[in-house]
Symmetry: C2
Subunit: 325 residues, 2 copies
């Protein structure tokens, strides 16, 4: 692979002129420009971008931390980010870290290392405090509500969405409401638990600790839920299931057991996944693709504009009424 110097020689100009042509700068005479372009073609030249990254101090790359790409929630967010990245001519480094703190740390180090100009964290194991210490090295955005920190944030108000869902079930006459979560101590799980307690208490209903059903991530978990519920005395008559795939697993398995939705169980799913349309599941659209788009744009803007205050952006959820309640 030839370098810029060899091109300069071949074209009979200085490296500066070559660089100017390469970068489309003005003030290059037509004939020299042509000579350079010709040399580039003849020698099959291509810039070594690592040298450019080194000298410019940027890489046109944004890192993305998430536990696993093969999950509707994350794939959909990633899709949104990737669409924006394509428009902006930016690259996305996919860091599938499986909620392992040390792997997340490695990615933060890559920001510090200048391997990436910014970072988007879709979900995390590390503490906000630890993440925040890296904010000086480049803009960081999280896909969750964060405030009072040097971190940007794009999020849905999970508290409000849960409140809406619970009130809806209540209005439909349901009084024994349970809900699922994936990880017990995730930020969204905490606000949902809070909303569950607050809302039911306010309505004069009861929020039961044993009706917080955790570890529900895939459809199998939803399927397993059926027996878990049948084993209870005084079982719930309504479920908020955080993830339509889990809800689908539950509903289809319930049918096999001779139970009907919504007669035996009312169900509200989350994310408005394709499957929810297919099964007519009432759901809450969390606008995942837009979360990805906005997170990308915020980080991208901060990179190009050279910093500024962190941005916090709430996207409204959408309640989609179908026939599972």
């Amino acid at each position: 692979m030839p370098n810029i110097k060899q091109i300069a020689e071949a074209a009979g100009v200085s490296v500066t002129t070559v660089s100017r042509v390469l970068n489309g700068h003005p003030y290059v005479s037509a004939d020299k420009r042509a000579a350079v372009e010709d040399a580039v073609r003849r020698l099959n030249y291509s810039r070594n971008m690592n040298a450019v990254h080194l000298i410019k101090g940027i890489t046109q790359t944004i890192g993305v931390i998430l536990p696993n790409i093969n999950h509707y929630y994350f794939a959909r967010i990633m899709e949104g980010m990737a669409q924006q990245a394509l428009k902006c001519n930016y690259q996305l480094m996919l860091c599938q870290t499986d909620y392992r703190p040390n792997e997340e740390r490695k990615v933060l180090e890559m920001l510090r290392n200048k391997q990436m100009d910014g970072l988007i964290i879709c979900s995390r194991a590390l503490s906000l405090s630890e993440i925040e210490t890296y904010a000086n090295y480049g803009p960081i955005a999280l896909c969750e509500r964060v405030s009072g920190r040097n971190l940007s944030s794009v999020y849905i108000d999970h508290y409000a969405s849960f409140q809406t869902a619970i009130r809806y079930l209540w209005e439909q006459g349901r009084r024994r409401i349970a809900f699922t979560i994936s990880r017990r101590n995730s930020p969204s799980s905490r606000s949902r638990l809070q909303a569950y307690t607050d809302t039911l208490t306010a309505l004069g209903g009861q929020a039961r600790e044993d009706w917080v059903l955790d570890g529900c991530i895939d459809w199998e978990d939803g399927a397993a839920l059926v027996d878990r519920l049948l084993a209870m005395e005084g079982r719930p008559d309504a479920l908020l299931i955080t993830g339509d795939q889990v809800a689908a697993g539950f509903i289809l398995t319930a049918r096999l057991r001779g139970l009907e939705v919504p007669d035996d169980f009312a169900v509200i799913g989350f994310d408005n996944q394709p499957i929810s349309g297919l099964l007519e599941i009432t759901t809450i659209d969390n606008r995942l693709s837009e979360i990805g788009e906005r997170a990308f744009s915020i980080v991208h803007t901060q990179i190009t504009s050279g910093g500024g205050k962190p941005v916090s952006e709430e996207l409204g959820f959408r309640f989609i009424e179908r026939s599972s309640v």
Copy 2:
């Protein structure tokens, strides 16, 4: 951000010694090593990896071309690659190019640019010939059968899997067999069409051109298929649907129209997606995660071992009998 020179000064050693400590080389006295480590800590030093990439000529990054990450097929392959990447301490650049030739070209250029050490192409718009011209710049693997070229390849034998599926339907007494594809001219579609024609002809059945149903990618396409089929005179009694999500859309919509699977239509899906378990869809497991793992490992091995011949690896599909036939 301090650089290596400043660390050298602070520690009272040469930059060479600092570099040695940083890279864990031997032949550094314990006290100098300690001095360097101390200086690194005090000055909060972090290597600029772009300089390392420049001088070493590698980036520990592999690019991945795919049209859209928010699709089970690609997300699952990507998951496999990412798991391997994590183990090898390699990074993955996600290049979601939406089948746009020019975007795919940009990624190939990034390989040439040395922004990535190798490339995996999950699906493509460009010709193999064009892709092959980049093979000198780094190992390239495709997730499809490729031979006689300077490109590696990890694939499922779609011809054989289709043959298996069609014979199975035939044995179950189905004679009017149709099938869906996503893109008409993709490599896999071509081998499937070939298998369809060959197999049915061999069995003495008929392969009908109007029973090749294209544009089937998402569940909506599957849902739309029902009416498309009902509008035909002499409609098929069996369907091979390349993608379980599409199959699910078809089956659930068919039920709403009062049709039964497998009574009115026998259905065989593809990919062994979670939904196929949920709906008891007979399917063909294409081992997507393994395809991703192998593709990554092949490229990774070629990078670390410095080239060698391209590798071609076929993974056997698995026929999963459930109750949609």
